[in-house]
């Protein structure tokens, strides 16, 4: 089934990067304050871009400004989620996609480590059981 984005229409977006509506600046300011909070109190923030009224091209302009950092990670859970650090350490761009690669939600996390990357505590016991199970299994003893 063809997806909407595949329909070949050329959208006249705004004149290049900086959009005429000026909606990008406020988001950058919000990120800046979140960073300041993170630095001072360690409190992390997450901005849900779906709640921001962006004109066509605004989002691209924002991502262009945020740029690419050192870390980029992919989480394969219920579809792919890409987590990329922007040029500003502590500011992460999280894009959740569904198994059909449609964008579910785009968020900007301002934190030391994005919540999805750190291993959930409950998984540790499962991991332990799984490893114990593997170690006690015959195949493990042969190759040890």
């Amino acid at each position: 089934m063809s997806r909407l984005q595949d329909i070949p229409i050329q959208v006249l977006d705004g004149q290049g990067g900086q959009s005429e509506t000026g909606n990008v600046a406020p988001v950058l300011h919000e990120i800046r304050h979140a960073l300041a909070r993170l630095a001072s109190t360690g409190e992390s923030t997450s901005i849900d871009l779906s709640a921001i009224p962006f004109a066509p091209g605004d989002e691209a302009a924002l991502f262009g400004l945020l740029g690419q950092g050192e870390v980029s990670a992919v989480v394969n859970a219920l579809g792919e989620t890409r987590i990329e650090e922007t040029t500003y350490p502590g500011v992460w761009l999280v894009t959740h996609r569904s198994p059909q690669e449609t964008v579910l939600s785009t968020q900007i996390e301002i934190t030391r480590t994005p919540s999805l990357l750190s291993t959930p505590a409950e998984d540790l016991s499962d991991a332990l059981d799984a490893l114990d199970h593997y170690l006690s299994s015959p195949t493990a003893q042969e190759s040890a």
Binding site: R3, L4, L12, G14, E20, T21, G22, N23, S46, I47, D48, S50, A51, I52, P53, F54, A55, P56, D58, V75, A77, L78, G79, T81, H96, S98, P99, Q100, T102, V103, L104, S105, Q107, S115, L116, P120, E122, D123
Partner: protein, 363 residues
């Protein structure tokens, strides 16, 4: 067919990892237009969410709302949710029909009496006993009252169910009414819009499934999360409105530059909905972004609020004949009073006696 597993157990059973569950909660929060900080609360709630039974009744409607919901290409999450709600009755979607369908509905009502979710779309005709719209010989009116009686909550999807919508528009031949016009004493949640934004429908359902309660409502019974702000408040073209840059026609230089559509009849300022942020078709666009003014479809009686292409500052009725009528009346009254004045002047002039010095005797 009843299943008492909680949503959390079912997710794990179908092999969803912790991270998968966390991602699910994050996107659900975003879908419910709740702040990301709510993710932990959502996670906790989803753990214990029961799988509710849902009865969907479609009355005098154009199936636009259902189309909108199913066409929503809801990403897996919606699909997942719908895997977990037992949509026990939807006469458009369900395979069964006729007597078998009605039988299924009765069973669902009996088994889940008091805690099933009733979803209604389409208005309910009341004139002539509601004969203008029936299902299997039962008038919508009777069916609604019957099903509503055992419902835990009712969600009116679309402006028709919420406020009467198109059928209710002047002259309202079928006496169409909204759910809240008929049912009282039950929590009713209106998800207006013609049709409502798909993600808003799913967002509201997700909220009910997650928390089991209705979200905070505004004075028209609509969830504030989605209907709290007017389109104008969240419109990306607002800076042009502030600067006074307006498109005069649909293809002039202003329109091409994406200027404000106030002068082309946009009802954004007086319409409360999430179109400007949620947008339609996976955040792709919404009417204003496509260059057409908002027609205020989530407000009651938006069909009767004057021309869609008359700006908010323009009076709705045709001033021409009013002006003419008033002018004629004014002139007529003026002429009448004028004649009376003229007559009075003439009588005074005729009655005028020449004043002589003797008339000036001081007091």
């Amino acid at each position: 067919m009843k299943d008492d597993q909680t949503l959390g157990e079912r997710l794990r059973e179908s092999g969803i990892s912790r991270r998968g569950f966390l991602k699910f909660c994050a996107t659900t929060a975003s879908m419910m237009a709740l702040p990301p900080s709510m993710v932990p609360a959502i996670a906790a709630a989803l753990e214990t969410a029961r799988r509710p039974s849902v009865i969907w009744l479609s009355f005098q409607e154009c199936t636009g709302c259902t189309e909108s919901l199913t066409r929503s290409h809801a990403p897996t999450v919606e699909g997942l949710i719908f895997d977990h709600i037992s949509l026990d009755y939807h006469h458009t979607l369900q395979a069964a029909s006729g007597e078998a369908a009605e039988e299924a509905r009765r069973i669902a009502m009996e088994e889940n009496h008091g805690n099933y979710l009733l979803i209604v779309d389409g208005s309910i005709p009341q004139k002539d006993g509601g004969v203008y719209s029936t299902i299997a010989g039962i008038t919508n009116l009777a069916m609604l009252e019957e099903v509503a009686e055992g419902a835990a909550a009712i969600v009116a999807i679309g402006t028709c169910a919420a406020y009467g919508g198109l059928p209710h528009a002047n002259p309202n031949p079928t006496g169409a009414a909204s759910v809240s016009d008929i049912i009282s004493g039950k929590p009713i949640l209106n998800v207006s819009g013609c049709p409502p934004i798909p993600t808003v429908i799913t967002g509201v359902l997700a909220h009910y499934l997650t928390f089991g309660t209705l979200p905070e409502l505004d004075h028209l019974g609509r969830p504030k999360a989605f209907f709290g702000n007017s389109i104008h408040d969240r419109c990306y073209r607002r800076p042009f409105y502030e600067r006074g840059q307006f498109a005069e026609t649909f293809d002039d230089e202003g329109a091409r530059k994406g200027w404000c559509l106030f002068k082309l009849g946009c009802k954004g300022p007086t319409t409360y909905n999430a179109c400007a942020t949620e947008k339609w078709n996976q955040h792709t666009s919404f009417p204003i972004q496509a260059g057409h003014g908002c027609i205020g479809c989530s407000e009651p009686d938006f069909w009767d609020r004057g021309g869609f292409y008359d700006a908010l500052s323009v009076p709705t009725d045709d001033a021409g004949n009013i002006l003419l009528g008033a002018a004629v009346a004014g002139a007529a009254a003026g002429a009448a009073v004028g004649l009376m004045n003229r007559k009075k002047q003439n009588t005074d002039t005729r009655a005028h006696e020449k004043v002589t010095v003797d008339d000036l005797n001081g007091d």
